[in-house]
Symmetry: C2
Subunit: 760 residues, 2 copies
Amino acid sequence: MSTLTRLKEAQFNPHTLNKFATLMAAGNGYLGLRACHEEAYTEQTRGMYLAGFYHRSSSAESTELVNLPDVLHMRIELDGELFTLLSGTIVDYQRHLDFSCGELRRSLVWLAPNKKRYQIECQRFLSAAQHSLLCSRIAITPLDDDANVTISTGIDATQTNSGRQHLDETSVRVFEQRYLQGCYRTLDGSNEVVISSFCALPTNACSSFYAKNRRLTQHCSGKVAKGDAFIMVKTNWIASSLDADYHAESCSEQVLNKLVQCVERGYEQLLAESSREWDSWWQKSRVVVESEDPEDQHALDFALYHQFAMTPTHSERCSIAAKGLTGEGYKGHIFWDTEVFLLPFHMLTQPGIARQLLSYRWHNLPGAQAKAKKNGFQGALFPWESAWSGEEETPEFAAINIRTGLRQKVASALAEHHLVADIAWAVDAYYQVTRDDTFMRERGLTLLLETARFWISRAVEINGRLELHDVIGPDEYTEHIDNNAYTNYLAWHNVERAKHYLQQFAIHDADFVCQADDFLERIWLPVASPENLIAQDDSFLSKPTLDLTHYKAQQGTQAILLDYSRAEVNEMQILKQADVVMLTYMLPWLFSPAQLQANLDYYEPRTIHDSSLSKAIHGVIAARCGRLEQAYQFWQQACLIDLGDDPHSCDDGIHAAATGAIWLGAVQGFAGLTVEQGQLRLNPRLPVAWQSISLPFIWRGVHIHLTITHQHVTLSTSSDEPLEIWVADKCLSIVGGETVSLAGFFTPAHGSGTTKGAVQ
Amino acid sequence: MSTLTRLKEAQFNPHTLNKFATLMAAGNGYLGLRACHEEAYTEQTRGMYLAGFYHRSSSAESTELVNLPDVLHMRIELDGELFTLLSGTIVDYQRHLDFSCGELRRSLVWLAPNKKRYQIECQRFLSAAQHSLLCSRIAITPLDDDANVTISTGIDATQTNSGRQHLDETSVRVFEQRYLQGCYRTLDGSNEVVISSFCALPTNACSSFYAKNRRLTQHCSGKVAKGDAFIMVKTNWIASSLDADYHAESCSEQVLNKLVQCVERGYEQLLAESSREWDSWWQKSRVVVESEDPEDQHALDFALYHQFAMTPTHSERCSIAAKGLTGEGYKGHIFWDTEVFLLPFHMLTQPGIARQLLSYRWHNLPGAQAKAKKNGFQGALFPWESAWSGEEETPEFAAINIRTGLRQKVASALAEHHLVADIAWAVDAYYQVTRDDTFMRERGLTLLLETARFWISRAVEINGRLELHDVIGPDEYTEHIDNNAYTNYLAWHNVERAKHYLQQFAIHDADFVCQADDFLERIWLPVASPENLIAQDDSFLSKPTLDLTHYKAQQGTQAILLDYSRAEVNEMQILKQADVVMLTYMLPWLFSPAQLQANLDYYEPRTIHDSSLSKAIHGVIAARCGRLEQAYQFWQQACLIDLGDDPHSCDDGIHAAATGAIWLGAVQGFAGLTVEQGQLRLNPRLPVAWQSISLPFIWRGVHIHLTITHQHVTLSTSSDEPLEIWVADKCLSIVGGETVSLAGFFTPAHGSGTTKGAVQ
């Protein structure tokens, strides 16, 4: 495996503080920590978040992921000069995030206004070995003279979510004149978080402790000789009442003990323990490409680094927020992004985590059933935005229109119901990959049945056929339409799969089967026109078009809404993101190559790609159409959604689904590795710029390593069982343990219109 | 009248941001605004406060004065460089607060990191003519090249009180593409604040508007030629549901209309209107001294400027907080400071305001009666800390002891009862100065009776005499003692005055008179020893002493509590502040000059002066003892409580009582103007460094101007009625309208031990 890349920031730029705070965020699925500097900047949003730790600050607000008390901040004075990179001169600066172990490191030389130079080295990591552990280290070396160093740091609970406060400070303590501890409770009394910190200091340094105005502060000071380093290691342990092993009575002691144990081991050992976990994870996950463009590997490493950082593996009650744990965008809520854009990676690399993420939905079935009932439907209508309880968290009304003073009802929660079928799609996909009978019997089937019941109850009969009216498909610029193709097909798939597994697992439910049969027979599935075009919905194709060149040039900014109202946009053939194209991506076996191509060609020019969910999916479809150049272009553009030059594109957090889509594009698009109707399929279509792609995956318990070049496909597996795989249109059986090299099954398609290896 | 002085800040210093934000704060008694810079600094506490606008964010917190949404902040980019004085070079800088009109002005030249120079002029004022009006003006002149200027400003509701949020955003609007408006409601739903803003811009500038995350922002940008100024005037109108003319239904429109009317008049005219009010106020209030030390006049102007800024004149339901409206110290609560340290100034200059401040207590009688009842007493026990409702706001427990985890009960609310008698003392003093029969009949008498009833019920009988046990006197380093002399004497005075006015106003209440007579006859009033010493309490004189040199050198920091526990301090002869000395100040006619002197000499060496209420009172007593040098020293030290060099002494707000004490020291101490038992008395004792003092005052409706030199006393009055005044020990009758020059009534005492003009 080639060396993992690093994310670099070559200079300090006050305009990109929040971009890099997001890109370089630390995370272990339990905690997320924005890559803020130790010293504060007014323009930088500091943030630490615990998976599932939500709170609603008042009835006028939404539930949001709580910005926790800050342990990272350090107020640093060097010979009386307040350290900030805004003042003095930055002689040398670099910061990098090491994807291999999640350590963030900053090295700089600062010429202070007093004309003295100080070298400062900052390091930190969130442990992959112990979720609650956050370590940071700072070394300050005066280069020109002996120096007085003072650092004030502690646990700062003045943090808010943009001014909204969620926590009461219930206790602040200093134990044994060394260990800081703050205990906080959500204002509604439902959850607690306990934070303990310890600062290891040079022996000649002295400390004092203060608690005031929600800040527990250790004030450290000492002298350091020219050329020597003043080193502080700050070890922090963060626990919450959501933890399985949390005991309200003993939590303070428990957290303190954990901290003390870590302190004894020291920064380097703790980092080594964490790095071992990362190593093992990368072995299971990393996609390696040989490309003319080194940014391709970098984007893949970036995307997978963030998969690790954002994915809670400690609890079935948590899922992945739209911004992971990197920021407050979408208030930490969970959307269809998880099931459709993120789950495929987990199914194929760590299926246990995929099962856990699906279990999150299973635990939240009561909320979904209640929402269905409230809206006059049966079964389960999952919330468009979900947090801890599974209740609908989408605000009923959008932010006030500052010109009219009116608040528009948010349509997503009312009509963007495809999420229900997306969850069912993910349950089926998970089972196809894993054959996890236990999960399917105990949880999956319930999810499939309850979602199917929703669709059956939601359909309306029009002249004998069943239709789905007043929905929103994936394209959110087209609202309240009838028979959105994506929704209707996915709903059909949902009911079909429910019936299928009911029969497979020999569950007797004649009523359901009868209803399902009727639904499957009569649900309207929009058919392709003679030109292979599938209508996005009943009215879409009759709407006028608009030249979108101007808006496509500003993709991702929703600039069109500055020129047109939502209602006006709704009445034109304008897509925010893939819709029919998304459908052909989701259920590829239902559509012919000619249909894929025709719909890509029709809808893409009408798509602004204002959603981060759009580009990579177009890339996969373009690849399946054999248009490698276009596919590669889409994919590379998708890689820039967070990593690109826009200084503010990800200020409020990473585009989690987009990082998942980077993997999808490479693995499903270019490696052509898919699971379709129970078959493992491989249709490689490498971009010209790529010499190879290799990746590990797990297929029904068998660990496989796949390498693809333009000439060969190499599969190695450790299992004794024969493995069946369809390469292009041939089914091969690979015997366990051996490495098979396959050649001649396909011809590399250099940007040609079709490929011989395309799916039939 | 000599020109009013200005408060100057000669350089930008990141270490004194909060000190100057307090010292230079704007205020009109209705609103207070910290003197924060337009551009934000992480270390600067921004704040705007409305008198009486309190809220309690959770049951775990105290009621506090709400930090309102910020309208002052401007994010400024000059040719793409973010303007902050931490970066680039400050070529020129000065800021000054003009005491004559309350305008704050900053002029600077900034050499940006791009090596271009920009001249920036900022001005602002809170209107003295219209309480709700805040105007600011910024002029940016590029000196080296044409420039692109962008300013983002608006109404920012992410403000908190150290992380505690009090407001929900209920509406944000932009009217007519010009007028911003934000409406906010306290989380408990009880109060609302509405803020409207308008930015006047150069004609070629363009604007856009955004609302996100509690920020309503106007983004303005434009080009400006080298040498020309880009000028923005921002006019703001702030109103709340506490206003008498507030109507919930029409408040948005009402506030907008007010703003529009102001916008039409423009910055200069609005400033002129405000300045006229200031002029008239200074005419009624200013104390002018001719001193060798120009800082003396400066301190007096500073003190009176803040009297104006902190004193609510618009509502009887507001009083003056311990930090005025300049910061969040003491959470905006009201203490005895108002009645004892601030009211005398108002009685003698604007008695209507003194009446209003006393009415605040009258309105809050129900809370005081409830507190008395709850504690098993009769009458009214006013809360030690008071906010809007008059309920006790002192937290039951002090901040957690971070070492032990324990919270100590706060003793003040339980035992610091002298406040009750202090309020009665102020009612009597007000009546003596004004002969306001209406107030006394309708409100004052009730206050006197209810407070007297409290004392009668609070006394315990010990061997036939009445004692007051388990109290805290003004000296808060001596808690839970019996028969604190200050408390016993003031309680006696309280009951005596109640009985006196009952009889004067011919109110028949035989029961009360009978109880009062018994109380007055039997209450224990500690008598002076043969050495003229009055015991602070029953046990004080038997406690050991401690050399306080070390702690006196760190006055105001409570450094002794780092070395000794409160319990240990309690068992030594250590005073935080004047106690018996305070008693001799309050009821001077009860004590002989020898007694004043003996107690000053005994207690002062035992007093650390850790309270800001201490120094000036010692100064007055030293002056009354004729020790002018010592008195002047005390007074000058008292003037430095806020104005001194300590960079953090007033970070969380002005010491309101200390500013009142600056006036007390000059007027009662040096001019020797007092009211004692209904007599207007004058015993001038000018410091050697002073050539003269002159001041206006009102005595029973007659406007008088007094000038004192070392040789002469000059009184001018506009009334036709003869005015009786005691100068030294002679009673003079001055005929109305004429100017009388008096000489020879006293000999200037140059630091001698006694003065011939001392009170008998």
